[in-house]
């Protein structure tokens, strides 16, 4: 058994780390000879800081801190992309008279805070639609019900948040129309990252971790209801509000939404977790340009590695699909 | 007025100003009650000067606090007669056994406290405050703070404070206890003068028997705790009384009578 710690970029267990919980419950990590410890922390930056300083083996978080941290001596790489799409996009309430990004001129857009990468992405979406954001376009409105309150009270007319957040709002009856980034929309910016040292010394364990995660993601995509049960078993606190059938139905719908996001690379002929170097490069350029130091954009080779993609995909997909179908509580 | 007559003919039996009857005080403490005062009754006429003497711990301060309405009796009553309607108790000046000065106020400010609290006419009473500070020998110390005073100076400040509002009832708890012989003589004489001039009623606690005889119309002698009134002695000596009178035979008789009641043999 190899001990591996994975550092999630969220303060508490959330759907973002769904694959880890499902894999843990199904024993996928154990089967790879991995004794996995899942930890939470305030945000992606902290997760990357802890991983880069070898206080955790893997960070499962968004890639922005990895990219921006290169300047400060972060020596780590993404080795597995976990997400189907760029999690950041712009959302307007369904039925709003805003029907395309071009209509966002003069509209106030709520962001969780002014440090969020969703702001960078939203700016880019606006610019590509020919809308130039002004100083008061983006309004920090926090997250969750706080953000929803801002939207419903008319403080903002659109939100620039991320998928899991939207899913929660949808579950609470808010429906959205989404505007994705024109070119980076399909770039999955949630990644598993490890320091160069870890990649060099624990390659086998990382492969095992990737395989287990791939298997759980596939499992969740095949049987979201089972994934939900497994998640609740892992984190009973999440179940508490869902003690009536109505709530459970909503929760299943939400999980389906989530599981689909992680359903990446399981089509015929596809590979799971592939790192699209071109998109990676563009995303890094976007971030550094927004920061005002485009010349410092790191080379893709120093922030991402495809070396593990092959070994991560060495598992029997049919067996996983079968297990998902046959899963009983 | 009647009160002026009272000074020349001591112990007038008029309608009482203060009537203490069947007064009892029990303090509840952590380990059992203390019966401070068993049963005390006496009355005070308007304009009278009454001294209270008794052994340490017999309840003199307790009695005075109850008369000043600062403490609730356990049983019995204290009545004030002849007060103007609406007044809830006579206007009061009090000297506590310890000086009780406010440490953030200078001597002058401490003496002026009653003026501020009672809303008295500034100019007039502040002049009076300065006079009283001089009278108690603290001229030059007006702007000192209590922590910069000696024990006796603190006590003198509190005497000036009690007198500044010219109260009609004066309660004094061992006011001269910390004073040297000379200062004590002066203060005694001044107190007699002020009392005679201003028709105050004075209740005066002291451990000095000659002092009580020199100043009082009547001396209330209390017994040891739980205390009762042992005897009330009319001091039938002419007014004003001089320090030299203390050597007279009549004076000596009163002193040794009281001393006998307290089983003391000498005056140290």
């Amino acid at each position: 058994q190899t001990k591996l710690t994975v550092q999630g970029g969220a303060p508490v267990p959330t759907y973002t780390l769904l694959g880890l919980y499902v894999g843990q419950q199904l024993g996928y990590f154990k089967a790879e000879g991995i004794d996995l410890e899942i930890r939470n922390t305030a945000n992606a930056s902290t997760a990357v800081q802890l991983m880069a300083s070898n206080n955790a083996d893997i960070a499962l978080a968004t890639v922005e801190p990895l990219l921006l941290g290169q300047e400060n001596g972060v020596k780590a790489k993404a080795f597995l992309l976990n997400h189907k799409t760029l999690m950041y996009n712009i959302a307007v309430p369904k039925g709003s008279n805003i029907t395309s990004p071009a209509n966002l001129k003069g509209v106030k857009i709520g962001v969780s805070n002014l440090g969020s990468a969703s702001l960078t992405v939203a700016k880019s979406i606006l610019l590509s639609a020919g809308v130039t954001p002004t100083a008061d376009t983006f309004v920090p409105v926090g997250v969750g019900d706080q953000a929803l309150t801002a939207l419903r009270s008319g403080k903002v007319q659109a939100l620039a948040m991320w998928d899991v957040m939207y899913a929660a709002m949808e579950r609470n009856g808010q429906q959205f129309t989404y505007f994705n980034h024109p070119t980076l929309g399909t770039f999955g910016n949630l990644a598993s990252m490890a320091s160069d040292a870890t990649i060099a010394t624990k390659q086998k364990a990382l492969c095992g971790y990737g395989r287990a995660l791939a298997k759980s993601s596939l499992f969740a995509a095949e049987n979201p209801e089972a994934a939900l049960q497994l998640y609740w078993d892992f984190n009973p606190a999440a179940r508490v509000p869902a003690n009536n059938p109505e709530e459970i139905k909503k929760a299943v719908a939400e999980l389906k939404y989530i599981a689909d996001i992680f359903n990446v690379g399981f089509g015929p002929g596809e590979k799971y977790g592939v790192i699209d170097e071109e998109k990676f490069k563009q995303y890094a350029e976007l971030l550094y340009k927004d920061k005002g130091t485009p010349e410092k954009t790191p080379a893709v080779s120093s922030v991402a590695t495809s070396a593990l993609t092959a070994c991560i995909n060495e598992f029997d997909r049919a067996a996983v699909r079968k297990a998902a179908k046959e899963w009983k509580k | 007025m009647v009160e002026n007559v009272a000074r020349l003919t001591p112990t007038p039996r008029m309608t009482p100003f203060i009537e203490v009857s069947g007064l009892e005080k029990r303090y509840d403490t952590r380990n059992g009650p203390i019966n401070a005062i068993e049963k005390v009754s006496f009355s005070v006429s308007k304009g009278e000067f009454i001294s209270i003497v008794g052994p340490s711990g017999c309840g003199k301060s307790t009695l005075m606090k109850m008369i000043g309405k600062l403490l609730q009796p356990t049983s019995g009553s204290i009545r004030f007669h002849g007060l103007p309607a609406g007044a809830d108790s006579p206007d009061l000046g009090m000297v506590f056994q310890d000086a009780v000065l406010l440490p953030w106020r200078t001597v002058f400010q401490n003496v002026c406290l009653p003026i501020e609290v009672m809303g008295l006419e500034r100019a007039k009473y502040e002049r009076r405050a300065r006079e009283l500070i001089e009278l108690v020998g603290l001229k030059g110390f007006e702007n000192k703070y209590p922590s910069e005073l000696s024990g006796g100076m603190q006590q003198r400040t509190s005497i000036a404070r009690a007198l500044v509002s010219d109260p009609s009832l004066l309660l004094m708890d061992e006011p001269f206890g910390a004073l040297d012989a000379l200062t004590r003589e002066t203060m005694t004489q001044e107190l007699q003068r002020i009392w005679m001039e201003s028709k105050k009623t004075v209740l005066f606690i002291t451990h000095s028997i000659p002092e009580s005889v020199l100043l009082s119309d009547r001396v209330v002698v209390m017994s040891a705790r739980p205390s009762k009134v042992q005897e009330i002695i009319d001091i039938d000596l002419p007014r004003p009384r001089q320090l030299t009178d203390t050597t007279s035979a009549a004076f000596g008789k009163y002193v040794s009578h009281i001393r006998g009641l307290l089983s003391a043999t000498t005056e140290l």
Binding site: V12, P13, A42, D145, A168, P236 | I78, H81
Partner: protein, 272 residues
């Protein structure tokens, strides 16, 4: 034209049954909760912002029946108590040092203020690396937050002794430690207890702040999860638990304070 101060001994003590204070408390609580319930039901405040008290109560009941929530409560309570204990020990030590050693004041005070003004989330990675992921980093955060009120009150308290009492001790050639223990510590007790009361309540916040930085257990984690799921009634149910913990702990401190500072001046006045 005559008025009386008098009293008779009343051997039967007034029964606490009709204590106006308690009755009024209950009345106020009922009015507040009723008004709140009405506002929510009448739609004055939307339910996704503020759940109705009845909903909160139901959720609270469900929570308390739930094993996992009870574990969260114990977990957070442990953080609070351990952090508070640590803050008390350190606060008293530093307070005494600063109050009694002039050089310690100059050297330590700025660092203590500095430490206090740093928002804990800003140094989360360092805290986690130094104190780990488990309960210990939360305990440290609680201690960091609860420390300051104790230190400040301890310093003022230890310095505030009657100088005559210290002279009295010097007459007996008391050691520095004896003066501290026999005079300055008892004199400082009212300050210390006030400091502890403030610290106790801030400890509750501290534990939640600590969990906000990353935790899989505890009431703070539960709040974030429920907030993310926009389960307002669930959030308020946790808040009720938190407040109850805070109120109970601060009542304990108050009672302790009354017991320890038994010679306090308040009593005498009350009798008057």
């Amino acid at each position: 034209m005559s008025q009386v101060i008098s009293a008779t001994i009343t051997p039967v003590r007034r029964l606490p049954r009709f204590d106006t204070g308690s009755v009024l408390s209950v009345v106020v609580a009922v009015v507040l909760l009723g008004g709140w319930e009405y506002c929510v039901r009448a739609g004055v405040i939307p339910g996704y912002l503020l759940p109705s008290p009845s909903k909160v109560v139901m959720q609270l009941y469900a929570d308390l029946m739930h094993e996992s929530v009870r574990v969260d409560i114990y977990y957070t309570l442990a953080e609070i108590l351990l952090g508070f204990a640590l803050a008390t020990v350190l606060g008293l030590l530093f307070g005494a040092a600063i109050a009694l050693i002039p050089i310690a004041d100059k050297i330590l005070s700025p660092y203590i203020t500095c430490l206090q003004t740093i928002p804990k989330p800003a140094i989360a990675p360092l805290l986690i690396i130094w104190f780990g992921f488990g309960i210990s980093s939360k305990v440290v955060i609680v201690a960091l937050i609860a420390f300051y009120p104790i230190v400040v009150n301890a310093v003022v308290g230890f310095r505030g002794s009657d100088p005559r009492q210290i002279l009295l001790m010097r007459v007996m050639k008391a050691s520095r430690w004896q003066i501290f223990r026999m005079v300055q510590l008892p004199n400082a007790l009212p300050y210390l207890m006030a400091g502890l009361q403030i610290a106790m309540v801030f400890s509750v916040i501290g534990a939640i702040v600590g969990e906000f930085l990353g935790a899989s257990r505890g009431l703070g984690a539960l709040i974030i999860q429920r907030q993310a799921a926009m389960d307002v009634a669930g959030v308020f149910s946790v808040l009720v638990v938190l407040s109850t913990v805070g109120i109970v702990l601060s009542v304990i401190i108050k009672a302790l304070s009354k017991k320890l500072v038994f010679w306090g001046p308040a009593e005498e006045i009350r009798g008057v």
